[in-house]
């Protein structure tokens, strides 16, 4: 259930929604953090649901003591009206028994809000790649049928001009030539595949961007994913030299624990 922060519910009609799938390395969630932090997005509301593990903290994007005191919850919606952009950040895992109801909730909210398109940022286990995939870039995309029919000027043409590749379908039994069941296989992608299928059947325009990665320090993966996204959506201007100046949020400090005791040196 979406609960707006202010008295009036925001209007998302025609907006682009970016949301992460809770997936391997939390790459989508980290990338979304970078977008919210860099674009100074305003919190529009909470996504209040029993499908996620509860969590609370102070403002994860604070720049000092003045804006630190802001209770943030496990799922929140941020927006920038001038960019027609809304972002749903999910900060905790989905309860295993509630995967289906969470997808249903998300799909019905996307439909009710009237988003023009939804971008799902996700990731997939790097060790599951086949030989072909190992040799190419780690980025893949998936489009729902609604976005495919637009022709070369549409989303698909745009993504192909960027040199992106569609996520390959794999055969259920590799090596057995007479099996013609090609299926989508996204291990470590959480609800990615099921949500994509839901959006296909519900006729929602969705683009899935996913990165092959492994567990560990996934901050570089998040930068890779968000840079690719920026190549397509142009959220930030790309400088002539160097890379896009993404701002890491203050909550990314101490990813590897607290300070060490000075006496050990």
């Amino acid at each position: 259930m979406f609960v707006p922060v202010g008295e009036r519910a925001p209007v998302f009609n025609g907006f682009t929604l970016i949301t992460p799938a809770v997936s391997v390395g939390n790459v989508g969630q980290l990338a979304v953090d970078l977008i919210i932090s860099t674009l100074d997005m305003v919190r529009a509301g909470h996504f209040h649901t029993d499908c996620l593990i509860p969590m609370a903290g102070n403002n994860p994007y604070s720049r000092g003591d003045q804006d630190a005191a802001l209770l943030s919850t496990n799922a929140e919606v941020y927006c920038r009206t001038d960019l027609q952009l809304a972002v749903l950040q999910i900060r905790t895992p989905i309860l295993p028994m509630k995967m289906k109801s969470f997808r249903k909730l998300l799909v019905s909210w996307i439909k009710a809000s009237g988003f023009s398109r939804t971008v799902l940022l996700s990731s997939c286990h790097a060790h599951q790649r086949d030989d072909q995939q190992l040799l190419s870039s780690p980025l893949r995309y998936l489009l729902t049928p609604g976005l495919r029919t637009e022709g070369t000027e549409g989303t698909e043409g745009m993504l192909q001009r960027l040199g992106w590749r569609e996520m390959e379908r794999v055969s259920a039994f590799p090596g057995v030539t007479d099996s013609d069941t090609q299926r989508l296989y996204i291990p470590g992608g959480g609800i990615t595949k099921a949500l994509y299928n839901d959006c296909c059947s519900e006729n929602i325009s969705m683009v899935v961007l996913l990165l092959f990665c492994s567990e560990g320090d996934n901050v570089p993966d998040a930068f890779t994913l968000v840079n690719h996204l920026n190549d397509w959506l142009h959220l930030l201007d790309k400088p002539v030299q160097g890379c896009v100046p993404w701002r890491t949020p203050s909550s990314w400090r101490l990813l590897f624990g607290s300070g060490v005791p000075p006496l050990i040196f």
């Binding site: 609960v3 922060v5 809770v22 997936s23 391997v24 390395g25 939390n26 909470h46 209040h48 649901t49 029993d50 593990i53 509860p54 969590m55 609370a56 903290g57 102070n58 403002n59 994860p60 604070s62 630190a68 005191a69 802001l70 209770l71 919850t73 496990n74 905790t92 895992p93 309860l95 295993p96 028994m97 509630k98 995967m99 289906k100 286990h125 296989y185 996204i186 291990p187 470590g188 992608g189 959480g190 609800i191 595949k193 099921a194 567990e215 203050s250 909550s251 990314w252 400090r253 101490l254 990813l255 624990g257 607290s258 300070g259 060490v260 005791p261 000075p262």
Partner: protein, 285 residues
Amino acid sequence: MATFFGEVLSVYSRAVEEDDYDDVEEENEEDLQIRREIEEKREVHIRWCPEVSKAVESAEKLQCSDLIIAVGPNAAGFVSAYILSSEGWMQVGWVSLWNERSRSSTRPDTAPLPGEPGCVFYQQKSCPSVLICQCTCYIAEDQLFHLAEKVLGSMQSRGLTVTVLSDSPLTEYKTSHYVNGNGAPFLRALKTSTFTHNLPCPLLEQPNIITGLPAAVLNQCQVQHIQAVLFQCFSDVLHPDSVTMETYKPALSCLSTRVKLETRPNMEILQKLTRVNDAHSNLYT
């Protein structure tokens, strides 16, 4: 996973489950039935005493000015030794729930006995609008949301102030400088947008977060625009102890004048609570 030194570590992975939802999609009627039964069994119920339950079921719901929720051994111990030890409180309700780790599962229709893990509500006799919820049992992740929703849903949210007391080990506190035991125990606060009082301690700094029942209660209060504050105590003592319990004193005394706080803890109760600290089986006892 066994390490080089041979000890076995439980490995926590951030990787989510494999792509096995294909099977979940093809549920038959029997699977759904089993799923429904499990969900029913895990449902959370609050059992109020007859007088309170009348108020909860009425249109105005239960009138409550202050609700104090104590979660964790130290917070619950503080409430027992400093507040509930006086005669002015009576038990008005308890939570009935079932999960893998809650012991009360065998008797779902009787209140937990004193000293038994459980989640119990107390009401102040002199001022019935003050309630305390003392929670010492394990509540599973999927039950937290519903418990918070049911507790706050049974109360009139206008004029309500929720205070959550909770504790966690010092090792979970993240800070850029090294924390040794000298500063511990200490309090950190977290408040909802509508809470405007001054706080007796610093706010919980990022990247520290809280989970569990305190987080579920704060989330619920935030979306319902209820004034709520959490005091999280970080302690370097493994078991409940009197020094840690005392850190909650300034937090509570400055907030709620309606709650009578004993200046000295009840020694008998305190002794009972901290008995686990005593050495039991060394060479000399």
